[in-house]
């Protein structure tokens, strides 16, 4: 039950191409620069908008420290050239941070507290590794056995899900190969063209031969993750990456990535003022907790919760962006809820397209909204599992 006074509409959703980490195309590109870029690009797509109307910029980031620390949202919006009067905050719910930013921005509009909001997601796993620059765990975690899973790496939790939901290696590898196949098809078909804001990478490198600084520029306009050369056979040869006798490999897990996305949300009144057409309407968002050691199953709790909130049935969903943290947990979620594989990640998922932790939610919101519109579908969802045991799901309607 919501107490909203108005609807929140998404008018712009744009993202960078996703780079591989830690040695991909953005290895020398700072996350605050990427964030500034997507904000700038989003604003450019709202020609009638006076930036002073923006109520807040909320950016999701899973490891908000180092190059993406110090409230990267505020830094990013200032670097993007927004007026000093526009505030910004960084939020963190690990892998759902980008979606959480969209939900929080929508909530402010729906409550009538704001008319224009920017939600964003940003992550450079090249510069800030998983776990952060200085991981530190509380001694209390090890005082009780039931808390130990707080310290588990995500790969171990995927193994637990694979074991508990009986997801075998072959199915995981088949799923991974299909993710690449779909991502390659989508790339070739230009499916991502509408949502990507190409970024001009500029790197200053020492040219030791000529004794001068070499400036190398490249245009990043295509996702780096999808592999043309992978196959079920090649994937089957990979060794388990986390457990000695496990089934989860580097090939059937999501890739480490760098990327950013920005979403502009508005009330109907603001939209009319700016003479903008909506991409879609925000319908709802839910999060739920599960046991940390099987964090990958989180969406199983979050998806029914948000559907109930919005009064929709699962069968009504046309398109589901389910973040492929691991093939094992994706398959477990799909089987547990009976999701139609054809409707889940039709353009490929994180195993092929990459998973820049806190940015993913915003990135896939862009994919979903542009995809729904292009393919003339109505209801769509972005959902993911979250480290230490949570699931999140956001509902959208294309307009």
């Amino acid at each position: 039950m919501t107490r909203q006074v108005q609807d929140a509409y998404i008018v712009v959703a744009t993202r960078t191409a996703v780079g591989k980490a830690p040695r991909g195309m953005y290895k020398n590109t700072r996350p605050d620069d990427l964030l500034a870029h997507v904000i700038r690009s989003a604003i450019a797509q709202c020609p009638g908008l006076d930036p002073r109307e923006i109520g807040d910029v909320i950016a999701g980031c899973a490891m908000p420290e180092g190059e993406q620390g110090m409230n990267v949202a505020r830094i990013g919006l200032l670097l993007a050239g927004l007026p000093d009067t526009v505030p910004g905050m960084t939020i963190n719910r690990f892998c759902s941070s980008g979606l959480q930013a969209v939900a929080d921005a929508a909530a402010r509009i729906r409550l009538g507290e704001a008319e224009v909001m920017i939600a964003a997601g940003i992550e450079s796993m090249s510069m800030v590794p998983m776990g952060g620059n200085k991981p530190s765990f509380s001694p209390a975690i090890f005082e009780k056995d039931e808390n130990v899973a707080i310290a588990y790496g995500m790969g171990i939790t995927a193994e637990r899900v694979a074991a508990q939901w009986k997801i075998n290696r072959e199915d995981q590898d088949l799923f991974a190969a299909e993710s690449h196949r779909r991502a390659n098809w989508a790339t070739d078909a230009g499916e991502f063209r509408d949502e990507i804001s190409p970024y001009a990478i500029s790197e200053r490198l020492p040219d030791l031969e000529r004794r001068q600084i070499a400036v190398r520029t490249r245009r990043a306009e295509q996702d780096e993750g999808p592999r043309r050369d992978t196959s079920v056979e090649a994937l089957a040869k990979l060794k388990p990456a986390f457990a000695a006798k496990g089934s989860v490999t580097a090939g059937n897990s999501s890739q480490m990535s760098d990327g950013a996305a920005a979403v502009v949300l508005m009330s109907e009144a603001a939209m009319k003022r700016c003479k903008l057409e909506p991409l879609g309407r925000f319908l709802g968002y839910a999060v739920a907790g599960v046991a940390p050691e099987v964090m990958g199953i989180g969406p199983v709790q979050a998806i029914p919760k948000v559907l109930a909130q919005a009064g929709l049935k699962q069968e009504q969903l046309d398109w589901i962006e389910l973040n492929e943290a691991f093939a094992a947990q994706s398959l477990a979620v799909m089987r547990e809820l009976g999701l139609d594989p054809a409707k889940v990640n039709p353009l490929g998922g994180a195993i092929a397209l990459g998973h820049p932790l806190g940015a993913t939610g915003a990135i896939r919101t862009a994919t979903l909204l542009h995809g729904l519109r292009r393919h003339k579908k109505q209801y769509g969802m972005v959902t993911m599992c979250i480290g230490t045991g949570m699931g999140a799901a956001g509902l959208f309607e294309a307009l």
């Binding site: 530190s136 090890f142 310290a151 006798k245």
Partner: protein, 831 residues
């Protein structure tokens, strides 16, 4: 270059990035010699494609030709199309391309105009005549032309044969020898320019003789290898596995060189490849590189070719018990008498191959080598034999063996009928090695060792049978150690225990040596007469009297070679076997164990805080407590082939002689007030995974050696350099370090952060419950205990933690099971 000026080697070029060329380049880089590696330009893509591929391959080879993997990237890639101008800046060029006279001639013509005015040009040919090669080299540059023949694998094989052509400048050869000995750490033998030089000529003949007699007596190849390996003082790969490793095609090439170039040789008819081997080569079964040769691996089975059937069968050949009994007799004269007298085909086989090899060496010594010492060292250093053929003959009783050979020649049992040379049977002769030198048939006298200045750096060169050897003057001697000096101001302490394990007697001895050095000497060096440096703590109490001095085999290098692969694979296990704590444990004498741990800590602290500099001179294994001695010495001087590590975790214990403490202190110092975690994590990993350095430089990477510690290439120079270090420290006004009173530690938060990593290993099934417990204890010790992060502690606090957690671990049933299992089986127990 005039003959007088020293050879400054700023850079070396290696031509040819094949198996040998690339590995020689790697070894030059190991020795900090900049190197350019040339190969043919690639036809497609990057012109350096071929050479880069060879460099990348160096990282994959086992045992590694590189001291540390990343050194490969310091090899400068080049190709003949683009980079010949770089030759001008190279002081030495080593040619190591295929053994084809026409190809070499083409290459020489191409590169000669680009060589610097001082460049020495040396061919690594193994078979072609150096004088013939010199003939295709421009005459004006021939005084700088010679042969340097490395052995495969060049990092590990001590031998380099140095061969002059008729025009080579003598001064240049001497300088090159200095470079090969000191800079590259090699054992140089000056060979005459005869086909295959010395080592391959004799070594390959010995293999041919083995082939001949095996076929004659119908002994299977696997049985031959069981007989001709360690049982007769040769490497484990023995005969046919060596051929597989070398490559049957390469072996055939060497044999064909002998066939083509030695028509007058009495053994000429044996310079042939047997039909079965020819068939293998034609079928592409070349040995290890094609995974099929005399042996092949099928699944987990090693299979061997059976001559009779022409098919492979499971390899299970064994030496007969009766023959093993003979071969185990330490008295060489008795051993050979028994072999000679026995009718057992295996005994006859061994006698026959030794007899014909002796026969061959005696007859050819004059033409191929300057003296008998050179021949013996060539075989020891190049083929990994414990003793050279003449040493074996001499130790078996020269006259007795000579008589048997004569008799066998007379009765037609030898491979050829040529009589032994006259000098063999001289009435006064009891051998070829004596106090005044080794026999040189050409000059009919005994030649002493080389008088080149480089050998003054070797107070104790590799020992040869018959040589007198005394190690300085004794200062004092106990059951555990001998403390001595060489007539100067540096005291030396050497351990007497087996594998130089450190027990109570060694600890007391080292403490006494430190006292002695403080009172009467400028410094103390810990040096062992033979490797290893030490395999670690031996908590077994030695019996009061009658402790035996370590056996001193004539060649430690032969042993080292035999062991290098095994060492690299299972260093931890060997050391752990020495941890003889079982006795005390079984007797429930934990208090005694704790006392020894205390004494260990007292000793290592004394090494660190003594009033004179202490220098650990390290060669070979240095594990556990041996590693802790190194970590506490003011300086370590280690040969490249030092394998250093804290391996206690392998038997369910943790380093408690100050090893954990030193790592904690080093991490804190390196952090310089910043975050200690990344520094400590590296050291935690080394201890928790019982990591052992694959070279001294790798040990430095792991953190066991410090930036100030020194790596030495030639083990025979180790003592001299260690003494120089001690003297330099003393001359600089040595003071022991001040005792640290405020060491910041990571504390409880650090422990739990490491535990998070450990829990993931456990949850992933990589480690057992007990592994997890051990790792948690190591983390606790290295983080300074369950105290607040950033707390300041002193050394004794850390030492007490080490001791406490060591004792807690040794009291667990599972650690005791591990120790017992290791002692019984030599294999680790994962419980």
């Amino acid at each position: 270059m005039s003959a007088k000026s020293p050879l400054l080697v700023r850079k070396v070029a290696v031509l040819g990035a094949g198996v040998m060329g690339a590995q020689i380049a790697a070894h030059l880089i190991n020795a900090n010699v900049p190197v350019v590696l040339f190969e043919l330009a690639a036809k497609e893509g990057d012109p350096n494609g071929n050479v880069l591929k060879a460099v990348a391959n160096l990282k994959k080879l086992e045992p590694s030709p590189l001291a540390t993997k990343d050194r490969a990237d310091l090899i400068e890639p080049a190709n003949y199309d683009q980079h010949l101008d770089r030759l001008a800046e190279c002081d030495i060029v080593i040619e190591a391309i295929s053994e084809r006279m026409d190809w070499k001639a083409d290459l020489y013509r191409k590169v000669a105009p680009h060589l610097g005015a001082h460049t020495i040009f040396a061919s690594n040919t193994s078979g072609l005549s150096i004088n013939s090669l010199a003939g295709v080299f421009p005459e004006a540059q021939r005084n700088r032309f010679c042969g340097v023949h490395f052995f495969n694998p060049p990092r590990y094989m001590h031998l380099v044969e140095l061969i002059a052509c008729s025009g080579t400048d003598a001064g240049i050869l001497d300088e090159l020898e200095r470079f090969l000995v000191t800079t590259l750490g090699k054992g140089v033998v000056r060979a005459k320019d005869t086909p295959n030089f010395i080592a391959n000529r004799v070594g390959v003949f010995s293999m041919l003789a083995t082939l001949h007699h095996a076929e004659r007596l119908g002994i299977g190849f696997d049985t031959v290898d069981a007989l001709t390996g360690p049982l007769v003082g040769r490497p484990k790969s023995a005969t046919f596995r060596t051929a597989d490793v070398v490559g049957l095609d390469t072996f055939a090439h060497v044999v064909h060189t002998m066939r083509d170039t030695l028509p007058e040789d009495p053994w000429h008819k044996y310079y042939a490849i047997p039909a079965w081997m020819q068939k293998l080569i034609e079928a592409g079964a070349l040995g290890q590189k094609t995974r099929k040769g005399v042996y092949q691996k099928v699944g987990r089975d090693i299979q061997v070719l059976e001559l009779k059937t022409g098919a492979y069968r499971v390899s299970d050949g064994k030496a007969d018990e009766a023959v093993v009994e003979i071969l185990k007799n330490k008295n060489a004269a008795e051993r050979f008498a028994q072999l000679h007298a026995s009718n057992h085909p295996q005994a006859q086989f061994i006698w026959s191959i030794f007899r014909d090899t002796f026969h061959y060496c005696a007859l050819h010594l004059e033409s191929i080598a300057h003296n008998a010492r050179d021949l013996d060292f060539a075989i020891r250093w190049g083929f990994g034999w414990d003793s050279g053929p003449f040493e074996i003959w001499q130790s078996a009783g020269w006259k007795q063996v000579a008589g048997w050979i004569d008799a066998d020649i007379a009765t037609g049992k030898t491979m050829v009928a040529a009589p032994l040379p006259a000098w063999v049977g001289e009435a006064s002769r009891n051998g070829v090695h004596g106090a005044t030198g080794s026999w040189a048939p050409a000059t009919q006298d005994y030649q002493s060792r080389s008088a080149l200045p480089v050998y003054r750096r070797q107070p104790f060169p590799d020992r040869l049978l018959g040589e007198e050897r005394t190690y300085g003057k004794t200062i004092f001697e106990t059951d555990g150690v001998r403390c001595w000096h060489m007539g100067d101001d540096i005291a030396i302490v050497s351990f007497k225990s087996r594998m130089h394990a450190i027990g109570d007697d060694v600890l007391q001895g080292v403490q006494q040596a430190i006292d002695e050095a403080e009172r009467n000497y400028a410094g103390l060096v810990i040096w062992q007469i033979e490797p290893p440096f030490s395999v670690g703590a031996n908590l077994k109490k030695t019996s009061g009297s009658g402790a035996k001095a370590p056996p001193a085999p004539p060649s430690a290098l032969g042993k080292l070679f035999k062991n290098f692969k095994r060492e690299a694979e299972s260093l931890a296990l060997k050391a752990a076997r020495q941890l003889g704590v079982a006795d005390q444990l079984m007797a429930g004498k934990l208090a005694e164990v704790e006392h020894l741990v205390e004494q260990f800590q007292v000793t290592t602290q004394m090494l660190k805080y003594s009033m004179v500099p202490t220098v650990a001179a390290v060669d070979g294994l240095a594990l556990g407590g041996g590693c802790e001695f190194i970590m506490h010495s003011d300086r370590a001087v280690a040969t490249l082939e030092s394998y250093i590590g804290l391996v206690e975790v392998g038997v369910g214990l943790l380093p408690a002689g100050g090893g954990c403490k030193e790592f904690t202190m080093r991490a804190a110092a390196e952090a310089k007030g910043g975050d200690i975690s990344p520094f400590l994590q590296k050291y935690f990993k080394a201890v928790a995974m019982a990591e052992v350095g694959r070279s001294a430089e790798h040990a430095r990477e792991l953190g066991y050696l410090r930036a100030t510690d020194r790596v030495v290439m030639n083990r025979f120079e180790l003592l001299e350099i260690a003494k120089a270090e001690a003297r330099a420290l003393a001359a600089a006004g040595y003071r022991p370090p001040l005792r640290a009173k405020a060491i910041p530690v990571l504390g409880r938060s650090g422990i739990s952060t490491i535990r998070a990593f450990v829990e993931n290993m456990h949850a992933g099934g990589h480690i057992s419950d007990h592994d997890r417990l051990i790792a948690a204890k190591v983390a606790t010790v290295m983080c300074g205990g369950d105290i607040e992060s950033g707390s300041l502690v002193d050394e004794q606090w850390l030492l007490d933690l080490e001791r406490q957690h060591f004792m807690e671990l040794i009291a667990t049933e599972k650690s005791q099971e591990r120790i017992e299992h290791m002692l019984k089986t030599g294999k680790p127990l994962r419980n």
